[in-house]
């Protein structure tokens, strides 16, 4: 319906109305607005998100983002629903077997929140160029191999779009984030020590700090900036110096990092296939893992045969509690990134659900601290 306006003021008011949140939305989103505020909710409401591959992990991410009230979700998947998909996916059932997975899941995702536009693309996004990814505010790729992540990461870097890549293998999984350069705000009680505008870590710096009085307390509003690296550099990056310098910390690094890198290498060598339980596959995977473990300068004894066996047993499986955790953490990060609040994942989270651990490692090519230039290291 066309809107007729009489003055510039009314036009501005109408535009404001379209962007501000209605009373209905405040009632629906009451609990989360109490947590992250109306401004962040408004940013969420206009966000367009691309989610690639609609399996268990993507179900979780879609559920969390659609419930939170993003603007639109585009689900891209070129494969069909299989019997295995019924194990851990709650948006498909028996009658969907054989249908396109994005087409089958979309109606149930829509039911979660009619305010969110859910679009379906039954295409293989690997066939698309940078212009395909540019219209989205955030791109999330699930269950992809390293080549796919690398190529889409090139596109998201070109169009300056944040990228998340995540995958799960039974009890194990990871989340990778490349937010390129991301500014966010944290609020804290003002300390007696003044906040200096300077680097806090090799990737994070404080770029602004202001104060505000709130209920008689002085609250400090600090803007920080995190800078990221693309997957092509992250995949070969060493562990942070504070780990490499400390043998005790190196011993605590999960061998899952080794195994994810070994798995990517295995897929690259075997035309994207996952390792089977055949003797040849197990042997190749073990060789690759041993090499990656050494490359990471991790002590050989932390890559145990029990861990290798457990990882291989879990490869390719989807387990609801693990995908729920990964999808929960990822969606929460996406929500905070859109709202420009809270510390985001920097930049590689590993989930070992068998140990109930999910450490985050900051993996970047080593920088020359004197001139700040990126110096690739060849081993």
């Amino acid at each position: 319906m066309p809107i007729t306006v009489n003055s510039a003021d009314e036009a501005a008011a109408a535009a404001d109305d379209a962007q501000t949140i209605s009373a209905d939305e405040i009632a629906l989103y009451d609990r989360q607005i109490r947590l992250w505020g109306v401004k962040a909710q408004e940013k969420l409401r206009s966000a367009k998100i691309l989610l690639v591959t609609a399996k268990a992990l993507a179900n979780e991410i879609a559920k969390n983002l659609v419930l939170a009230g993003i603007g639109s979700l585009t689900i891209a998947d070129h494969e069909q629903v299989s019997g295995d998909d019924l194990c851990s996916q709650f948006f498909v059932s028996e009658e969907d077997i054989g249908k396109n997975r994005a087409v089958a899941t979309a109606p149930r995702i829509r039911e979660l929140n009619p305010r969110v536009a859910v679009h379906v693309e039954s295409i293989d996004v690997r066939t698309r160029g940078a212009e395909y990814f540019a219209p989205f505010d955030i791109v999330i790729i699930t269950e992809a191999d390293l080549d796919t992540i690398t190529s889409i990461n090139t596109h998201t870097r070109l169009s300056n779009r944040p990228l998340y890549a995540t995958a799960s293998h039974g009890f194990y999984g990871y989340i990778f984030a490349d937010l390129i350069s991301h500014d966010y705000v944290i609020q804290r009680d003002k300390s007696n020590v003044p906040t200096a505008l300077k680097a806090e870590t090799s990737t994070r710096s404080v770029v602004a700090a202001t104060t505000r009085k709130e209920n008689g307390k002085v609250v400090e509003i600090v803007t920080k900036r995190e800078t990221y690296s693309p997957i092509a550099l992250v995949n070969t990056a060493p562990l942070p110096a504070e780990h490499l310098k400390n043998r005790r910390r190196l011993r605590q690094v999960t061998p899952l990092l080794t195994c994810i890198r070994a798995l990517w290498e295995f897929q690259r060598l075997s035309n994207n296939a996952l390792p089977s339980h055949s003797h040849a596959d197990v042997e190749l995977f073990t060789t690759l893992a041993t090499a990656k473990h050494k490359e990471l300068q991790l002590p050989p004894e932390t890559l145990t045969s029990e861990f290798l066996r457990s990882f291989l047993q879990n490869i390719g499986a989807e387990l609801a509690p693990a995908t729920a955790f990964l999808g929960g953490v990822l969606a929460q990060d996406v929500i905070n990134v859109l709202g420009g609040r809270e510390q985001p994942i920097q930049n590689f989270l590993l989930l070992d659900a068998a140990e109930s651990k999910a450490p985050v490692y900051s993996l970047h090519p080593p920088t020359n601290s004197e001139d700040g230039l990126v110096v690739p290291v060849f081993v």
């Binding site: 009230g69 047993q313 499986a317």
Partner: protein
């Protein structure tokens, strides 16, 4: 291939135990919906779900098993229907009931291999913790606030239990807990300070810092009735200084309002119903009490003692008319407020009294009315000394207001 393939692959021999297990999930809220989905998809053989709540609009942003058309329906039953479809091999049993109901006895708890708590209140958590210890069934306890959360495994003789560590009393309380269903002394103290005192002597504070309004929308009818109650109290405030002021206030808050709450039978199914107080009867009992009772601040006052501190002895009210100085908090405070109002220049904002725990008049009034309310609800009474300790320090108010 099919439903069991991945859980079998990942879990190996553990999968059979999961498939043969019988588990209990208490709570179908934010955590409960997620947990139920995970349990169903993982293939736990038999899952029993207990929740006494019905679905509200403000649940829909996170409790993903519920949709708009489910509003006002019982959470447990809707959750069973929706999550059941995720895996038809799982047997689901739902109870729209309070986990504290006697039907859920120790024998019943013993029938489970594992219990999951996904609750939103201390009381129910403590109850399930006790039942699981008594039944010797492992309990997985969970909770969340904002971006944070925790999970704790509780197993008799192996780990600490939920009550092994004293829990900090929450600083805020749902409005309905304070105004309709108090169960602890602190609820009555907050009621006396942040509702009663401010409505009679202060500026009415709908937004006292102790009030947590996050559950208001789920109890909108009750909230509306409470608002009307507060307005009625404000009307009584007009008669401040009149000889029957104490009686009017007393009969309103410990009589009329309690009778209204009592009439809401659903509220008292698993709680003790409140007993109204009779002004005339108690004032007779109070005849023998001396007002020096306020000096006795380390032991909890009796009902007539609280009554004396709150209002006055009936015969004192007679003398009050004669302007006799009486050691009675309500009268003293009324006098102070009237005095301040008399001194205020015309056109000024009407003066009010503010609560200060170091001001004996305000402290005694709050202590006595909190205790009278505790008696109404069958809650333990506290000494003036203990009540003072429970109250926050004088609030710092920003000069800008």
């Amino acid at each position: 291939m099919g439903r069991e393939a991945y859980p079998k692959q990942s879990l190996g021999s553990l999968y059979r135990r999961i498939k043969e297990s019988r588990v209990l999930l208490v709570g179908a809220g934010g955590i409960g919906c997620e947990l139920l989905k995970n349990l169903v998809l993982t293939g736990f053989g038999e899952i029993h779900l207990v929740d006494l709540d019905t679905i509200d609009l403000s649940n829909l942003n996170r409790q993903f098993l519920f949709r708009h058309e489910h509003i006002k329906k019982p959470k447990a039953l809707v959750a069973k229907g929706v999550a059941g479809k995720f895996n038809p091999n799982v047997k689901l049993e739902a109870y729209h009931a309070n986990i504290k109901d006697p039907m859920f006895n120790i024998d019943w708890f013993q029938g489970f291999s594992l219990v999951f708590n996904a609750l939103d209140n201390l009381e129910a958590r403590r109850h399930v913790n006790k039942m699981c210890l008594a039944a010797d069934v492992p309990l997985i306890e969970s909770g969340t606030t904002g971006f944070n959360g925790q999970v704790q495994v509780i197993k008799k003789g192996r780990t600490e239990c939920y009550d092994c560590n004293p829990k900090e009393t929450p600083k805020t309380f749902p409005v309905c807990t304070i105004r309709s269903t108090p169960s602890q002394p602190i609820h009555c103290i907050v009621w006396a300070k942040s509702y009663l005192f401010t409505e009679i002597f202060g500026t009415s504070e709908d937004d006292a810092p102790e009030f947590d309004h996050s559950e208001d929308s789920e109890n909108s009818e009750e909230i509306e009735k409470l608002r009307q109650e507060a307005q009625a109290l404000k009307r009584i405030r007009q008669s401040i200084g009149s000889p029957d002021f104490a009686r009017k206030i007393f009969e309103k808050i410990f009589g009329e309002d309690i009778l209204r709450l009592r009439s809401m039978e659903d509220m008292w199914k698993s709680r003790r119903a409140p007993e109204p107080l009779d002004f005339d009867k108690i004032s007779q009992q109070a005849l023998v009490i001396d007002t020096s009772v306020t000096q006795k601040d380390q032991t909890a006052w009796s009902l007539p003692e609280n009554f004396v501190v709150f209002s006055d002895r009936y015969d004192f009210l007679e003398r009050l008319r004669l302007g006799e100085l009486i050691n009675c908090s309500l009268r003293r405070l009324s006098a102070r407020l009237q005095d301040a109002q008399a001194k205020a220049a015309n056109g000024d904002v009407s003066p009010v009294l503010t609560f200060d725990k170091d001001d004996d008049d305000t402290l005694e009034f709050v202590a006595a009315s909190a205790n009278l309310r505790s008696i109404v609800f069958g809650i333990e009474t506290k000494s003036k000394f203990d009540i003072k300790r429970e109250l926050p320090r004088k609030e710092l108010v920003d000069g800008m207001y």
